[in-house]
């Protein structure tokens, strides 16, 4: 289905990443945004709120993030594409209801413009430290999809894509942007509506009596129905079977049998894991001959470009792999590269999150070097260059992740002060 031209602000814009997220959502047909103001994400909600009345969409400023996310779930079941926009502290508040969204397989989008530090942190500065929270934040087993834009242009594109993925797999999708991308103004080109393919909601088309909210298609994704349309929907956050009714029997938790009363827990993870090849997107450059590969995402990927260029100029065979989809993680590709390279360099604005995934997938075949950053600023590209050089010279894989000591840390803590992973 093509995008509705009314929703697509075709043309060349000079806007920041936050606003680009809002435009991407509108283009994808998002009709409901509930949020609570939080720096550095407010610009996105503002931009959406301004455009909403023109496109039949609705913005509501809820009383808190707990209410925002709950109302987004409600809106989604009432038949609208819905999202919320937040940052770290609000993201934490939403966690419980994200679990409800995952368990009831509700399609919705969360945009998290990450900021620095734990707790209130540095509200006005950047960070990439919510990456693991995005995947593991709510209790119990489930899988989500998380995307990481590196520019305002990509903020538009990935927010658009997030809605498509949410509808396609009936899953919460997170756009893990950060303050730097969110507040960076660049040229954003929005194409014609004809060029934008929108995934329509997968409504059940059979007889109303036959509808089961968690009966799966071949690709393990169940069909949706609208609330208040006579389907006698039965949705609960309790562990449930195909018909949505609660299940408490241990034997039926693993739904391998075709029994109607098997729980759907297994499918919450399987529907993403089995479809991961279709979901995962990453960008590779110069990895054909690479001895070192820089694995990065979001704003860190852009900072790494300079370091990679300088390293190539100095004769080091270095390539890059930029994660567009952080979750699910491109395990296969990292594993393949681990056979080929001496080392991976992972710059991220935290003290080690995605680097653990890289290390897990490289299975001890290559060195994995983390270039850490405490947040509130982006990396110095010289640090990434230093880590690339280190990776290129060490031949024997270490049994643990190496943490590169950045110039700033050396200055502040001295050479031996920083504890290593």
């Amino acid at each position: 289905m093509k995008a509705d031209p009314k929703n697509v602000f075709t043309g060349s814009h000079y806007i920041d990443g936050d606003v680009a997220c809002a435009y991407g959502a509108v283009a994808a047909g998002c009709k409901y945004l509930a949020g609570y103001p939080i720096t550095p994400s407010t610009e996105a909600a503002e931009a959406f709120a301004v455009k909403a009345p023109y496109v039949g969409a609705q913005f509501i400023q809820m009383e808190d993030e707990l209410g925002s996310i709950a109302s987004v779930l409600g809106a989604s079941w009432a038949g609208k594409k819905a999202m919320t926009i937040t940052s770290g502290p609000g993201f934490s508040l939403m966690m419980e209801t994200i679990g409800l969204g995952a368990a009831t397989e509700t399609p919705f989008v969360i945009i998290n413009i990450q900021r620095a530090g734990p707790s209130t942190g540095v509200p006005t500065s950047t960070g990439q430290a919510d990456m693991m929270q995005a995947k593991w934040g709510s209790h119990g087993d489930y899988e989500i999809i998380a995307l990481a834009p590196e520019s305002p242009q990509e903020s538009f594109e990935l927010t658009f894509k997030a809605f498509n993925l949410a509808e396609r797999y009936r899953v919460p999708v997170m756009v893990m942007s950060d303050e730097c991308v969110g507040h960076m103004a660049e040229k954003v080109v929005i194409p014609n509506a004809q060029e934008l393919e929108v995934e329509p909601r997968r409504y059940f088309t059979g007889s109303k009596k036959d509808y089961k909210p968690f009966k799966r298609d071949k690709d393990l994704v169940p069909w949706m129905a609208r609330a208040g349309a006579g389907y006698k929907l039965y949705l609960t956050g309790l562990t449930h079977g195909e018909d949505g009714r609660p299940i408490f029997d241990v034997k039926t938790f693993e739904m391998k049998s075709k029994s109607l009363r098997g729980s759907t827990n297994r499918y919450l993870v399987d529907k993403i894991r089995h479809n991961r090849d279709k979901i995962i997107k990453f960008e590779e450059h110069q990895t054909d001959d690479a001895e070192v590969v820089v694995v990065s995402y979001g704003i860190s990927a852009r900072v790494a470009i300079k370091a990679v260029k300088e390293a190539r100029e100095s004769g080091i065979k270095v390539g890059t792999l930029r994660l567009v989809t952080v979750w699910p993680f491109p395990e296969k590709r990292i594993e393949e590269l681990a056979h080929q390279v001496k080392g991976f360099v992972v710059p991220e604005i935290n003290y080690g999150q995605v680097v653990y995934e890289v290390d897990r997938c490289s299975q001890g075949r290559a060195n994995v070097i983390l270039v850490p950053h405490g947040g509130a600023a982006v990396h110095d590209s010289d640090d990434i260059l230093g880590a690339i050089k280190q990776a290129a010279t060490d031949h024997n894989p270490y049994d643990r992740i190496l943490e590169y000591t950045t110039a700033l840390e050396r200055e502040v803590f001295g050479e031996n002060m920083v504890s290593k992973i």
Binding site: V55, G56, E63, G67, S71, G74, A78, L100, Y234
Partner: protein, 240 residues
């Protein structure tokens, strides 16, 4: 509890509202099993978020009739309760007050006042006056009954369901052996000032219809204001 659902069932019939368009949103205080014979859609949400969930549903499809059942005296969802009333969101809220978290180990809720049950050292806290909270924040319909005021409860539900705006019915429903005690120790005072209906020990429980008034709902106000500013460019909130 069965009595209340039965009253709700009869209340829907009496009000003549369309069951197909009705969605029952509850938090975890309710067994979802009860809705099977109601013939409505059920959304059994997580702790305390029922009102916010229903807010999202109403805004996305104004044709839906939202019945929200909460069970912890709006403790976890207290903020949603206050703000939904303030916005005059079109929700029909039933709060079943049994003074206890019956599903766990009967710990006291903020509605508890009693030394009637065996809590180790008795409740020392002042019970929450939910009708007053609803009224002071702008609810259009506020009533309280005990579960044994069956006919009154049915009439009240039938009366409140078709009204536009935030409606609250508090139902006093302690454990079965105490139902009659509360029924006998209640007095009906329609139109009573909600400031005076707080539940106190050694005093009769005041029941009845306390508030019935008209106020512009959120969706009407939203549509009106946007139309005023944007004119024909404005697209109203409507179901997709």
């Amino acid at each position: 509890m069965d009595k209340i659902i039965e009253a709700f069932h009869d209340g829907i019939n009496k009000s003549g509202r369309d069951r197909e368009k009705m969605c029952m949103v509850t938090d975890i205080a309710y067994d979802p099993e009860v809705v099977d014979y109601l013939g409505v859609d059920l959304f059994h949400t997580n702790r305390g978020r029922a009102i916010a969930f229903a807010t999202g549903m109403k805004l996305s499809n104004p044709n839906l009739i939202l019945a929200v059942f909460i069970g912890d005296m709006a403790t976890l969802g207290g903020n949603h309760f206050v703000h939904a009333a303030r916005r005059n969101m079109d929700l029909f809220v039933v709060c079943v007050n049994d003074f206890r978290y019956r599903k766990v180990a009967a710990q006291e809720t903020p509605g508890d006042f009693s030394r009637l049950e065996f809590s180790s050292y008795c409740s020392i806290e002042q019970p929450l006056n939910l009708p007053h909270l609803a009224r002071s924040n702008g609810a259009v319909y506020v009533a309280r009954w005990t579960a044994l005021h069956h006919e009154d409860l049915i009439n009240s539900m039938a009366e409140a369901l078709p009204q536009a705006g935030f409606k609250l019915i508090e139902v006093i429903s302690p454990k079965p052996e105490l139902l009659e005690f509360f029924y006998l120790n209640s007095e009906i005072k329609h139109g009573e000032d909600t400031a005076k209906v707080g539940i106190e020990e050694d005093k009769k429980i005041v029941v009845g219809k306390f508030v019935e008034r008209e106020r512009e709902t959120f969706i009407d106000a939203y549509n009106k204001q946007h139309y005023k500013v944007l004119g024909d460019k404005f697209i109203k909130i409507a179901a997709e």
